[in-house]
């Protein structure tokens, strides 16, 4: 025990200061202590010094990059989305991280099977919209058709890198997860190792891995947790990239 440990017995009115600064008092205690602060300059001073420490605590955590999709959602909801400021094309593909899970062995071993003729039938061609007016990198946005569920989806293609973004989309059924498939003309849809879910508000994004050469559709199906080598459900999202 240090000298400080022996001398700082919390018997005075300041016993609650640290807990108050940390937000750890119960509601009634907090209210009472706030009233006490109005009349006790000693506690006010101690609180001010503790508050500086508490304010510094977030600096101690491992730093992560905020997901690009989160940024887009926040700015869009604030009424001045990235597109409005022409920044959509500035996203660094290397910084993209999302809800994906990598299952390389699983992806490498499976072979794609047809999603069914009905799938192609429900796909409606949407023209891509290029975003970003000043940068060399441009993002092309393809609206997707959502089938049998609420919400919206789009595929964003930047420098050959595709990202699927969904909004207000239902979470997959219990025990299932969404899986992304790539479609090429006259070929069976190919599975990818992109599996994702959505946030509580129904938002989510996932990188679409693989070579996009010749790909004309990006599709999503709900599949058992861990993904499936063959589609077991009809597509709920279909984006036509032509």
């Amino acid at each position: 025990m240090t000298e400080l440990d022996r001398t700082a017995e919390p018997r005075d009115c300041g016993a609650d200061v640290a807990a108050y600064a940390l937000g750890a008092l119960e509601a009634d205690e907090s209210d009472a202590f706030a009233r006490h602060l109005e009349t006790c300059s000693i506690c006010r001073d101690e609180l001010a010094s503790f508050q500086q420490v508490v304010d510094a605590l977030p600096m101690s955590v491992p730093q992560h990059r905020a997901p690009p999709a989160l940024r887009r959602r926040v700015l869009a909801q604030a009424g001045g989305g990235a597109e409005r400021h022409g920044t959509a094309g500035r996203h660094d593909p290397a910084s993209r991280r999302s809800l994906r899970r990598w299952l390389p062995s699983f992806a490498a071993s499976r072979t794609g099977l047809a999603l069914g003729a009905g799938l192609a039938a429900i796909a409606i061609a949407f023209g891509g919209v290029e975003l970003g007016s000043s940068g060399a990198i441009r993002t092309k946005v393809f609206s997707a058709q959502v089938v049998g569920a609420a919400g919206s989806a789009e595929v964003r293609v930047t420098a050959g890198h595709a990202e699927l973004v969904v909004h207000h989309f239902a979470a997959p059924p219990a025990g299932e997860i969404y899986e992304v498939w790539l479609g090429r003309p006259d070929q069976k849809p190919q599975p990818t190792n992109a599996l994702f879910s959505v946030t509580a508000s129904g938002d989510g994004d996932v990188d679409v891995p693989g070579n996009l050469h010749g790909v004309n559709q990006v599709m999503v199906t709900p599949e058992p947790a861990g993904g499936s080598p063959v589609p077991t459900h009809p597509a709920v999202i279909t984006a036509d990239l032509t």
């Binding site: 640290a18 807990a19 940390l22 510094a56 600096m59 992560h64 910084s95 508000s201």
Partner: protein, 179 residues
């Protein structure tokens, strides 16, 4: 911030770009779940957008203010979350760790300060560090912590006070003092 208050969306965008990573990192540390952390950050920034006028420069930096809002939102989310699942962060590689490269002088300084805070927290006796982390990052009240650790409430509050006092001294004495 006055521009944000005036509804300047580009100013708000700057605020997010400057503090979004730190906000997400704090939320992720507290929630331990990426989806929940994203919701917390989204709610926090949108509340900032709507209430820019509440920022008081005399009470700290914009960064501190943003992070305090994120902290409060996370606590609110915990209270809504009836199932108090473990919030120990198990990264699983789902969130992209920021690279160690340092791009600007400000980032170098911030990284140094972060190291000082980590050191100050890490050098606390384990029992003091534990109650501070449970309170701040876990959102638990001193009563809940006392119950968890089977300690008198007064002991928990005492450890909090000792821990914060030591951190204040450590950070005040460190080279390029954080405080």
């Amino acid at each position: 911030m006055s521009l944000v208050h005036d509804g300047d969306a580009s100013a708000f965008e700057v605020i997010f770009d400057r503090h979004g990573d730190a906000a997400f990192s704090l939320a992720y540390r507290m929630c331990g779940r990426r989806a929940m952390a994203e919701d917390v950050v989204q709610e926090a920034f949108l509340s900032l957008w709507r209430s820019g006028a509440r920022y008081n420069q005399s009470r700290g930096s914009v960064r501190s203010w943003v992070l305090s809002v994120v902290h409060h939102r996370a606590i609110d989310a915990f209270r809504r979350d009836s199932i108090r699942t473990s919030r120990d962060v198990s990264d699983e590689g789902i969130a992209e760790q920021l690279p160690a490269t340092e791009r600007t002088e400000a980032e170098v300084e911030r990284r140094d300060e972060a190291q000082q805070v980590r050191t100050a927290l890490g050098e606390l006796p384990a029992d003091q560090r534990q109650v501070i982390e449970l309170a701040y990052f876990g959102g638990f009240s001193h009563s809940q912590i006392a119950e968890m650790l089977k300690l008198p409430a007064g002991t928990v509050k005492g450890r909090m006070r000792l821990g914060l006092t030591k951190m204040r001294i450590a950070l005040g004495n460190s080279a390029g003092a954080v405080l």
